[in-house]
Point group: C3
Chain length 361, copies 3
């Protein structure tokens, strides 16, 4: 079975990827091999599975998987007597162990180094010889492509852009002039790095463009989703710190700073000059107003609009609860007139107070 690894080999690979930091106890025969990952339901004897969410315990109890990563409490609950068919990989951080293991098992198809047919590379661009430039990619003057970088088909890399080692651009990524991308980043198709920020001065009923003279700086180990747009700074740069993960169709305005290891789900909009702290999590379709600061470690629910600074980490939400349309119409109409309800309460309070005073006399 090509590409298969024994559990022992996997454990060594995981340990190496995790910097030696992630050990697991193997219960069963570590020489058993697995060739890929699968869901608990669909797994066969050559698959690796994981159990992280307790609501899948029932599936885990009957999985045919060759190996199963899980926590010690889950093991005790499910397989107290050691009678299971799967080799168990018992680990506190079961999901992370599985992630590293899945990386080790994933097939690696690396393009050959060098320039594919039809790529257009400016003579004054610098390509590391180990980098790979896909068909019909365009690399402009002064761009600097690091070791083992993969530039996909049809990408355009602007003047003076630098891309750090082992970063991967999927087909059709656009990077404007002057931007800097760190090492080991992944940029998905259709993302646009460094387009002009939205800056205009009003003048006699029209808009005058403010040239956007900054760039976008992206740290190491950042992932940028398909169709996501990150604008260059107006004056000064837009900064995405290391380890940030950004999903698809996210818009990040000019001069934002996104703190290290924050995660931003799909369809989020972040207006200009917002500062998102480190290790924040922004739920899908949330919206962050411009010039706002969000504290490290904040978690924003999906579909929530943040219109003021968040000074203290916490879990914040603002979603109109959905209802059958007829109920909503009533609820929305009342919401428009909440102040009248309050006024009626005030008047009632006054009446009741007056009656009480009267009856006290």
């Amino acid at each position: 079975m090509p590409g298969a690894l024994s559990i022992d080999q996997l454990a060594a690979a995981v340990s190496a990827l995790a910097g030696g930091d992630l050990s697991a106890r193997i219960v069963g025969d570590g020489r058993r091999t697995v060739a890929g990952v699968a869901t608990l339901e669909q797994a066969d004897t050559d698959h690796l599975c994981f159990l992280a969410n307790p609501r899948y315990r029932r599936l885990a109890a009957v999985t045919r998987a060759g190996a199963l990563v899980l926590s010690e409490p889950d093991r005790q609950e499910l397989f107290p007597d050691g009678s299971q068919a799967s080799v168990l990989i018992v680990c506190e951080a079961a999901y992370a162990w599985f992630a590293f293991a899945a990386q080790s098992l994933a097939p690696k198809i690396e393009p050959a180094p060098g320039c594919a047919p039809g790529a257009v590379v400016h003579p004054a661009a610098k390509l590391d010889p180990s980098s790979s430039i896909g068909p019909l990619a365009v690399i402009d003057e002064g761009a600097c492509i690091g070791p083992r970088v993969q530039v996909g088909a049809g990408c355009t890399v602007g003047r003076g852009v630098s891309i750090g080692e082992a970063t991967r651009l999927y087909p059709g990524v656009r990077i404007y002039h002057g931007c800097r991308i760190g090492a080991r980043c992944i940029l998905h198709s259709g993302c646009v790095i460094g387009a002009d920020g939205f800056g205009f001065a009003p003048f006699r009923g029209a808009w005058v463009k403010i040239p956007q003279t900054g760039a976008v700086l992206i740290g190491d180990d950042v992932e940028v989703g398909a169709g996501t747009t990150i604008d260059r700074g107006a004056i000064g740069d837009t900064v995405i710190e290391e380890g940030v993960k950004i999903d698809n169709l996210v818009q990040i305005g000019h001069n934002c700073r996104i703190g290290a290891h924050s995660a931003i789900a799909g369809c989020v909009g972040i207006a200009g000059s917002a500062t998102i702290g480190r290790r924040c999590q922004l739920g899908g379709a949330s919206m962050i107003q411009g010039h706002i600061t969000i504290a490290d470690g904040s978690v924003i629910a999906g579909a929530t609009a943040i219109t003021r600074d968040i000074r203290q980490a916490g879990f914040y939400t603002g979603i109109y609860p959905f209802m059958p349309n007829r109920d909503w119409e009533r609820s929305a109409a009342l919401l428009r007139h909440l102040d009248e309800l309050r006024e009626r309460i005030r008047r009632l309070e006054a009446s009741v107070r007056a009656q009480r005073t009267e009856s006290d006399r």
Copy 2:
């Protein structure tokens, strides 16, 4: 008039397209010809128009259109005495009749089969000889392009992708490796099929990537809008069933399943592992949380966030009603303190009860 059809010819064409299922009664001279479609206001005597929305009846009454598709009740209302200038095409499903007729009248400019200049096709890709590959498109190893498929300029079709017959990719579509697209689909520019889902395991304050090993499977007769992104599955596939229509800038997360003939309007976000039923309608900018199930036939209003399962078909809404900003500030402030209003009501109820008890004594 090149491209013009008589009403009788049109009726035959519509009947053929509709599988013989859609008959109409012609009132007037079926030999009259029309060459195109127009709005009721702008129509001339060689145009076909339709009336579907009652609020346009007044315009229909005075249109110059050569032919008009409408329902029998509308005909009776507008032209009881048969004095109209237009040929009438009376049909219960007037809008569908018009749609098929407009398809028959639409100019067809088909590219010649074969590979345009500058396309880069891997030697191990399979192209049906009747397919057409646009200039500077890139077709990777093992891709399989079906009969009469049109791949637009600058598209990239990944390793092992298969595309069913008569499907059309507009310029700049990106399909990642291993995805399957059905027959007669339309994919618009800038859409990205099969980018990695957003899956990471937390580990020591950073994120570990979960390789996304599934693919995207798209059924027959699906339309995907410009800039829309559909992520590949983490483990297992993301599935778009037949007949689904997706508008622009929609994000569909990994491992979602969208039921047949559902329609998804622009700017919708669907988080990972959501299951949308058949024949659902999601309004523009609605948001569906991950791991949620929505019953067949559900209709979600625009700008509504669905945060829990919908078990029963219905029309669901959750939108904060807009108001002049000053009113909103008051309304929002009260909303933050609804529990206080409730508490005041409780206290009032207790007071009134106490007073009543007292006065009863």
Copy 3:
């Protein structure tokens, strides 16, 4: 210092760009030169800065900038005695003056006229000799590219498209057949102009496509952000009037009309056949329902859904205020039952009225 301009030269350049309309008073030595713009904090003696927002007055008071644009009241407040290090440029419209000045200072790197290597231009396309077609761009039959137009790398310009003079397309812009783009427009990477509108007729449980026979007409001086999509009309055209500024990831449906000089921030969705007035401002992630009309000069807050016509200019908002999640859960639960609260108030009012009547007896 190459590219540097004296303040006097800048003032002349600004006046020329503004049509002679924008004068300023220079306080200090007009022969001093500046070479670029910077923030108040980071400016050095060869930088130009501006003060428009009063909350940055403190920074302006101590900036090292060589020149500072500001209003007369700000000058009086900050530098009453003329002791400042910076040359002052005193102007009522300080921000607009700065915008024009920054345009004058911005480095201009213009591509050489003509076709770059690998561009695919149909023999029946018309290119003005002063236009520049980037590498691997595709220009289709009958397209008409005006003077000094820049078409970026990898763009595709469809059949019969016309592009007005000095318009710039960044890499990877897609323009479908038949669309018309005005003069001096800027289209950013990944935007898609003229994809099919979302029009389908229901028929026997499936959807029948309505051919989208209109086009997109874009006026002069329009900017379209990265990843933004503007759909072609169904019957008749989608129209973007002159001077409109559109940010990233905006969706504009078929047959919309956007009035001149309106500004649309990121992630906005505008459904089909909406009419936005002139000089409107739509905040980020706001959503406009289809077939709606919005009055000239209206301002819509971010994240607000507009579900009915706006007949009178004003500032409109509809955002669920965000809160700590626990508070939100309570607030949302109450919102679902606002009608019960109202009912309890009604009953209280009746009780109190009854008691009063009783005690009056």
